[in-house]
């Protein structure tokens, strides 16, 4: 079990969460009309072996989207913060 320390709910099993994938991708601005940028954002992944920054949503809890830093080889959880920048600024993990 991956145990994610939700900054709002505490340590929880990963089965309470929805996986959202690579968090290092930057979504183009809503009015960005560049097809190549959208293509890269939607379809390409770094898919690292090792440290991976990813999104999880606590769907069976507070529903917050979280940014989780996790090792894809050892599955060790290195950090969990709220994905929302304002919320993330406040927590110390």
């Amino acid at each position: 079990m991956l145990i994610l320390h939700c900054p709002f709910c505490g340590p929880r099993d990963h089965s309470e969460f929805l996986y959202g994938g690579d968090a290092r991708r930057t979504r183009p601005a809503p009015d960005d009309a560049d097809g190549a940028r959208w293509h890269d954002y939607v379809f390409l992944r770094d898919n690292p072996r090792g440290t991976h920054v990813e999104h999880w949503q606590h769907i069976h809890g507070c529903r917050a989207w979280l940014t989780v830093t996790r090792d894809t080889v050892t599955h060790e959880i290195l950090a969990v913060t709220a994905a929302r920048p304002a919320a993330a600024a406040g927590d110390g993990r």
Binding site: M1, L2, G21, D22, V42, R45, D46, T72, H75
Partner: protein, 424 residues
């Protein structure tokens, strides 16, 4: 030409002869050569697909100056970590024809390789658990039949005649509405596929080099000229990449970024039992599939764990879900014991379909993105990848499996799940 001793054929006669002499005369199934400084073609990855590619390069195209580089041991990846199912029940143009070609190759593979890979066409029942699923199964079956592939839509009663001990009760959470049945589908002894292709390639002169990890590419003016490995630099005019599970990592060494995420898929086996289940069964409501190996163990699996992973092991929630699905489908299995669990690393692509294609680097070819489909695809994948490498152009069967298809929007999305790799 390989040495004479490599030519020994397997047959019941040779088995009897060797039985009388203590089996001391069997030659090595494959040699253990040191890598040469240069090859015409280097295949990275000594799994099922890489070995099949090397075999068909030699057999179909006469290209035998080939090395297969394997970082560990032959067949150590997904070819030995799957649930051994082969089938061709695909619906989307491109997939349908490709997987059927693969099934046809499976049907004659043991004889072709002179290695019994135990192709057991015991039939697969894909159970449907709702009206919408029944409609989808009908469409799939219609596509299969219109493409010359065997398929039957079975009523619950017809399913029950074949496997009477499934839960047909109305109290079932997801009642059985019927099944899409493919009689020619079945199972294949997975390790033997790697070994059979390895022996076949070796007998045609291919060098199989184990414990040789690729650490970099030599690329000059946009053209590949060789690879750096833990056993030195190896020159090559053409390089084929067949390292599903690690595709993104190896491709990155050549500067490529792929439409792929790596995910772990678990599989399980019970203690061996006398024949219980004579079919392969897929259980749509719970994404569960099961068959019984010739040794007697029930072999089964479910969904991905669902997060990027390079660890060949999974976690408990999925294991619990799979057990729930197993016993909900077959209420007699609760007392049977799971003896082993393992995980394989899947190349999950953005539309659930593979890539067999040239890359932007001249002379570098990619075979990747197999999702769940890799094992059953092994012979066709090798066949088509060999063709693509040998001729520089895709075979018509893999023309749609292009690397850049997402730029054009030519998705091959069997499930309609979109660019969410863990949903395929």
């Amino acid at each position: 030409m390989p040495p004479k001793s490599q030519m020994s054929e397997y047959s019941v006669l040779s088995l009897l002869r060797e039985g009388l002499t203590g089996h001391t005369g069997w030659p090595r199934a494959w040699r253990d050569p040191a890598p040469k400084a240069e090859y015409d073609t280097v295949i990275i990855g000594g799994g099922g697909h890489g070995l099949a590619t090397a075999y068909y390069l030699a057999k179909n195209h006469g290209i035998t100056d080939v090395a297969v580089l394997e970082k560990g041991w032959l067949g150590g990846g997904n070819v030995g970590r799957n649930t051994t199912i082969v089938r061709s029940n695909y619906m989307i143009p491109g997939n349908t024809e490709f997987y059927e070609f693969s099934l046809k190759l499976w049907e004659g593979l043991s004889q072709d390789l002179n290695y019994n890979v135990m192709v057991s066409q015991r039939g697969q029942l894909n159970l449907v658990n709702g009206q919408a699923q029944l409609d989808a199964a009908a469409r799939r079956g219609n596509v299969m039949r219109a493409n010359g592939i065997d398929a039957e839509l079975l009523t619950p009663a017809a399913v029950r005649r074949r496997v009477p001990f499934l839960d047909f009760s109305p109290a079932a959470r997801f009642p059985i509405y019927g099944a899409l049945y493919q009689p020619r589908a079945g199972t294949v002894r997975h390790d033997a596929v790697a070994w059979g292709f390895a022996r076949g390639a070796d007998r045609r002169g291919v060098d199989l080099i184990q414990n040789c990890e690729v650490t970099g590419f030599r690329i000059e003016r946009g053209r590949v000229t060789g690879v750096e490995t833990t056993r030195g630099t190896i020159g090559a005019r053409r390089v084929g990449l067949a390292v599903a599970g690690s595709s993104g990592q190896v491709a990155a060494l050549a500067g490529l970024r792929l439409p792929i995420e790596s995910h772990v898929l678990q599989a399980f086996v019970t203690e061996p039992l006398k024949p219980l289940l004579d079919y392969v069964i897929g259980f749509g409501a719970a994404h569960f599939y099961i068959s019984q190996s010739d040794k007697g163990g029930l072999v089964y699996g479910g969904d991905l764990d669902g997060y990027n992973s390079y660890a060949q092991r999974g976690n408990l929630p999925l294991i619990e879900e799979v057990a729930s699905a197993a016993a909900s489908l077959m209420p007699c299995v609760s007392r049977l014991r799971q003896v082993r669990e393992w995980g394989g690393i899947m190349d999950m692509s953005m539309d659930g379909s593979p890539i067999i294609a040239a890359t932007p680097v001249d002379g570098l070819y990619l075979n990747a993105g197999w999702c769940y489909g890799g094992f059953k695809a092994t012979p066709a994948s090798g066949w088509c990848f060999a063709h693509t490498i040998a001729t520089g152009r895709p075979h018509e069967l893999n023309a749609r499996f292009a690397l850049d298809r997402f730029r054009a929007g030519a998705h091959i999305d069997e499930k309609g799940a979109g660019p969410t790799p863990n949903a395929h």
